[in-house]
Amino acid sequence: MTLSTMLHTMSAGMLRTCGIFILTLIGSLPLGMIVALLRKSRFALVRGIVRVYISIIRGTPLMLQLLVWYFGPFYLFNWNIGSWRFPALIIGFVVNYAAYFAEIYRGGIESIPVGQHEAAEVLGFTKTQTFMRIILPQVIKTILPSVTNEVITLVKDTSLAFTLAYQEVFSLSKQISASQSSFMPFLIAGIFYFIANYVVAFIMERIEKAMNYYK
């Protein structure tokens, strides 16, 4: 196998890795906010459920969670899981990352001084307006560094998709390396992850800079 065919084969994996990455962010960034808000719900039962969910997600390996999402329907309900691999993978990632983002959001929301809520309330803003106009923009600024960390972790975590034998770049590099007895695929994968994280860091830094217009 020449280097260019190797690169060509692996580029399909790179695309799949990017797919996991982007779909996970699209799902988990908003879902995390919903979880963070439910965590402060008026209803104790809702708060309890959310807390259990977060502690299970944080207390068990993502790899195990992926296996449960994938094989669970089969063992529990005897479903045919033939085309379930990719959905299970994305659900596993989204549900996992939403829990971590929820904790980040919660910390961010709690860090906003109560005076901001009170000033908005006295001015007559509704609860929703207060959150969307006053609180959330400030939360986003304060949590950006933690979100960056989490997103960089996600780039690397996408490799856990190999658990479900999903052919993303890490799985492919292992396979090609074994079949071709070559170290090259690992090197390519390593460079790919490194560049991906470099791009993530670059973009996040730009966003952070864009929010530096106030303190």
């Binding site: 009170e118 000033a119 908005a120 006295v122 001015l123 007559g124 307006q129 217009y213 106030y214 303190k215």
Partner: protein, 252 residues
């Protein structure tokens, strides 16, 4: 009467913070509230602005009852929805300013008029610029709060409250968070508002200011109004021993 608060009672757990407080504020009146720390001054303002709910008594703005007393003397508020109507009657200036840091000065002044009162943007901006001019801050409209001194921030906060065109403005120790050399600029603004007959209730530790600017002084201690009246009377010839004692501490 702009505001009437009758037989107000408020407790936090077992702690009775307001015990049967009654007072009214007439249009154009400037009322100062003084008293030792913990006497319930902030709590009273927070009850008047619905940041805290009262346990007993009634709150009436412009003859419109926000909370009335039932047969047991407990306070019963109008519905959450109706309460919104009352928010346009008053403004509150906080000790810590509480400006919105992510908004420019101008947006701090226009956001609520536009999105709460649904006023026209250009009209809201015009009003805001007028107010900033009055505060001596016309050239800082595009600045962000962090770029301003404490005194400037507090003047923006006053302008933000005025931009809602309230009937009455409450101040909770508006100069306590400021360096001594910056208190003057804020007090001057309040003095100017008093001359324009803005109705105001000011909780303050600035005794000479209270004496010079207000039409009436209320001295609170232990959740009660101990004494109230003409500032010259209360400051120079206090009737109650507790008032005398409090003012003596201040003279030193």
């Amino acid at each position: 009467m702009i505001l009437e608060m009758n037989h107000i009672e408020k407790h936090f757990g077992d702690l009775e913070v307001l015990k049967d407080i009654s007072f009214g504020v007439d249009s154009g009146e400037v009322v100062s509230i003084i008293g030792p720390s913990g006497s319930g001054k902030s709590t009273l303002l927070r009850c008047a602005t619905f940041l805290e709910t009262i346990d007993g008594g009634e709150i009436i703005y412009m003859g419109d009852k926000a909370a009335h007393m039932n047969d047991q003397g407990q306070a019963v508020y109008v519905s959450h929805q109706e309460l919104r109507r009352f928010r346009s009657y008053y403004g509150l200036v906080f000790q810590q300013f509480n400006l919105f840091p992510h908004y420019s000065v101008l947006k701090n002044l226009t956001d609520a008029p536009i999105h709460v009162q649904h006023r026209d943007r250009s009209e809201a901006e015009e009003t805001a610029m007028e107010l900033l001019g009055k505060m001596g801050l016309a050239d800082r409209a595009d600045a962000y709060p962090y770029q301003l001194s404490g005194g400037q921030q507090q003047r923006v906060a006053i302008a933000r409250a005025l931009a809602m065109k309230p009937q009455i403005l409450f101040f909770d120790e508006p100069t306590s968070a400021l360096d001594p050399e910056l208190t003057g600029e804020v007090l001057n603004v309040i003095r100017q508002l008093a001359e324009e007959k803005m109705t105001m209730v000011v909780v303050t530790h600035e005794m000479s200011f209270a004496k010079a600017v207000s039409n009436r002084v209320i001295f609170m201690d232990g959740g009660l109004i101990v004494e109230q009246g003409d500032p010259a009377e209360v400051f120079d010839h206090p009737k109650e021993d507790r008032t005398k004692q409090f003012l003596r501490v201040f003279e030193r």
